[in-house]
Symmetry: C2
Subunit: 539 residues, 2 copies
């Protein structure tokens, strides 16, 4: 059998040949662009020649600080296309973390959106390896900036070679991308994505039983391109010739709803926070969302009420998926098996609110206190993953040795698994609450509380307890129109029939918002501090 390397560049080449007329619709700061894959291909080739001119070599890291748009997509293919490494940087991180990341990755060139220039100008003095800054702007004039040397993306492209070739001297295990993820403690840590990993992950996204990404799709990745390559969707959509809609900088729920209607979006992907926002927008406006065949939701567990609202109120199929930065990220997708169609509507919803089963190409083990847990949906254990697009280390980071052990990635997620092999995340290893020697799942409590009509968001954390070691406390944001009066009792009353008595939170606190990470997950570390302050407990 021929051994042809699995490369990122080959995916765009396929699109150039077979989907040259299909479009990428891209919102930037100043306007809405329409490019087809033929043009994206030529622009990417120009960009590759530009990278070459700027001195980028095989293995060099090329950083991006950018929103979701066509230029970011072009860097997605141009950097790995010359054999360099696409390094997407989370623009929402604290400046000191961004400094750390750029220096740790040793980025040689940075591609920066216009509105992010001020951030980089402030930290420029700390950047040790960057040799060139490229601003991605629509304007003819290069913006004034203290960054040096600063180039304009379009001016560079103008000088580029539209017939420049993809580097053919690439081994499929060579690095193609990298992404840093926040750690519970310490600096961000990074994984490397290989060409092989990205291509195999793209196959997985095209499978009928995962995301089924197809030429006929109009795909809008809402999850940021700086977050695990927008879940790999831009790669898969390009390869399979889907129309892509890039929502651009600082989008609002209103823009998302409008784009869905205007461009007949068929599939979109993002974290629960985004969909809570979109839901509010759909309730206020009058949008036609009938084109949507799938909303993919991951990043953190979607409350049952969210799934229900999309499916039952708006008739929008809503799919729960699970993954992590270390898993490229797609690991599981929640879909009913054919024989589960016979379940009641409630049972189906319950089943679909789980994280689902493994995508073909991955293996899992769930390790409890006594080794592998039974598939009985009761025993809890940490989820371990192995497979073609699972990282095997953190890039130049000692923390690798705790997370990657004997060929398995330890996710830090605590799950149960039912006899169908469907996993359900019950907590982070760090977020489980241990009360009187028994485990309490904060996620189970959160989901139950969020099913209450008055509740917009809820997060449950442990507070220290002299008698029980730890006790759960619920932190709740109410929906508009509901008052805190009696609400604590009402919520506890609502939970009582659903849980053992010792699971019920000792208290319900009300907040205007729950602190979140830059990718929309509950920031429990911060919340714990806030709650401790509330009780005057020592940190």
């Amino acid at each position: 059998m021929m051994h042809v390397p699995l490369t990122v560049g080959s995916m765009l080449e396929h699109a150039e040949k077979f989907f040259a007329k299909k479009q990428v619709i891209s919102q930037t700061h100043d306007k809405l662009h329409h490019f087809n894959y033929g043009e994206i291909g030529q622009r990417t080739r120009r960009l590759m020649s530009v990278l070459d001119e700027l001195g980028a070599k095989k293995g060099d890291r090329i950083g991006t600080l950018a929103w979701n748009h066509h230029r970011h997509l072009e860097v997605y293919f141009a950097a790995p296309g010359i054999g360099a490494v696409l390094h997407t940087i989370n623009i929402r991180l604290a400046p000191e973390h961004i400094i750390y990341i750029i220096n740790h990755a040793e980025d040689k060139i940075l591609f920066i959106d216009e509105d992010i220039l001020p951030l980089i100008e402030k930290i420029q003095g700390h950047l040790k390896t960057v040799e060139a800054f490229v601003v991605m702007t629509d304007k003819d004039e290069k913006p004034k900036s203290s960054l040096k040397p600063l180039y304009s993306y379009e001016e560079l492209l103008h000088t580029g070679d539209p017939s420049y070739s993809f580097n053919t001297d690439i081994d499929e295990n060579d690095p193609a991308g990298m992404c840093y993820t926040s750690a519970t403690t310490g600096k961000p840590k990074s994984v490397i994505y290989s060409h092989r990993g990205i291509v195999l992950h793209s196959y997985a996204l095209g499978l009928a039983d995962s995301a089924a990404i197809s030429e006929s799709d109009v795909a809008m990745p809402v999850v940021p391109q700086f977050h695990v390559n927008a879940w790999g969707i831009p790669f898969a959509c390009t390869w399979f010739g889907s129309t892509m809609v890039m929502p651009g900088p600082r989008f609002t729920p209103k823009r998302l709803a409008e784009f869905i209607e205007r461009f007949n979006v068929t599939i979109t992907a993002g974290v629960p926070t985004i969909w809570l926002g979109l839901l509010r927008e759909l309730e206020q406006g009058n949008y036609n969302t009938s084109s949507l065949r799938a909303v993919l939701c991951g990043g953190s567990a979607a409350p049952l009420g969210l799934i229900k609202a999309f499916e039952q109120k708006y008739n929008i199929p809503f799919y729960h998926a699970y993954g992590a930065t270390e898993t490229t990220p797609l690991a599981t997708v929640s879909r009913l098996k054919s024989y589960q169609q016979e379940l009641t509507e409630d049972e189906k919803l319950e089943e679909r609110s789980r994280q689902g089963i493994l995508v073909p190409g991955l293996e899992m083990k769930i390790i409890g206190s006594d080794g592998e847990v039974a598939w009985n949906d009761e025993e809890m254990g940490e989820l371990l993953l192995r497979g073609h697009w699972i990282a095997d280390e953190y890039y130049k980071d000692d923390r690798s040795e705790n997370a990657f052990v004997d060929g398995w990635f330890h996710t830090g997620d605590v799950v149960t698994v039912d006899e169908e092999g469907t996993i359900k995340i019950v907590d982070r290893t760090n977020d489980l609450i241990k009360s009187g020697g028994e485990w309490i799942s904060s996620v189970d409590l959160e989901n139950a509380i969020m099913a209450h009509e008055a509740v917009f968001e809820a997060s449950v954390i442990a507070i220290p307890d002299a008698e029980w070691q730890e006790r759960p406390v619920a932190c709740v944001v109410l929906n508009e129109g509901f008052s805190e009066n009696d609400m604590k009792d009402k919520i506890l009353e609502f939970l009582r029939p659903q849980f053992a008595k010792f699971w019920l939170p000792d208290d319900v606190l009300f907040f205007d918002e729950i602190p979140k990470t830059s990718v929309g997950k509950f920031l429990k570390r911060q919340l714990r501090e806030d709650v401790k302050a509330h009780y005057n407990l020592q940190s």
Copy 2:
């Protein structure tokens, strides 16, 4: 990124874990079996331990002479599962070719269906490497036979170890399977399928835009398991947890129609001859075929009339695919792109009757007399393929050097390609007709003739001509109820508006049947002899 090898065994392991309840329904000589993937997994593990006991080592070739059923499926996974090579043998070949194949592959063990025993008994004396024969029978008693040593499959399985492990010492580039294909001249020639090639090909079969094989499918591979691994469908269906229906030995169109209705078959695959037969059966009987979402047709070009009948008369979506033994086999699938939905019904049908566009993971070149042809649907050239599941040589065979050149497989198929990248096979390099210095496509003429209501099948060949070098002659089988009277003139009249005058056949001859290869393709070599005999021409 972890480097986990892509192995055939891992696909069955996935099914054992996540699709243990899903079924394989299997027709054997004596009865209809129902096994689930949990049981298939255990039986395969037993079989691996049996192979081990019988002395099969890594790299050894394990031959099968069998129809489509669950036991054959088990050998599909057990042979590569221990690191050996699954060698499926075409039972329809001439005995001298079967002898050649078994000796050339150096098969160590042969798995044989009961009704094929007599064939092997006759040639046993010529087999140089076979150490054990295993008969796949439902009967308790082992059939009487001169083969020695002869084992009974179920008796062996009874002694096997149901918890035997898949060999983990497998490199993904190790051979997993092999298949011989008939050559125009000379002995059959073989290609080797690697673990990697089979797994990546299986991903391709699961893509939404190729066969979209899914857990919710009930798949009936009609194409024989001895022909390019039944197009890889048993591997993909197992991995993705589809219900499988194996139609067993010597099936009739009636059995196929009954199985489609009885088991709610959603997808099936085979050569045009099979579908012509099924069509006749559907016309005579009264079957519910509404479960079918796809009939995949490949092996040779499907006449437009066939596609039309399935789609318009029976509302069964009919997909043209193209491949070869050397391509594992899926290379192209014919589906409309989203914007082609705007074509007229006739244009759509015409487009869908083409062979389609390349499956992601492959590359093509089309080489005419002046290098790569333009994508204008006019220039003809030979199709060259490259990619993850394309063979790179014939196994121990000098003919490799003509077919595999500079990293490309030369298919021997002459195609045109339109601006969408959709190929259309116009001939075999050997079957093109050269008349007065111009090329005439025999396939174009055949398809046009087969669109005539009176015609069941048609094959067009070249006969030598003193003036024009070669001239086309049409060989036609009429549908029942049509007479040969005037039919020559009617057919030529029918063709006249569709072709340049010099394309029109010089003669139309009527046959009771067209000679075919063992896999249902027109045997033009034989037909040329028959026609020459008819005209008293020298061979």
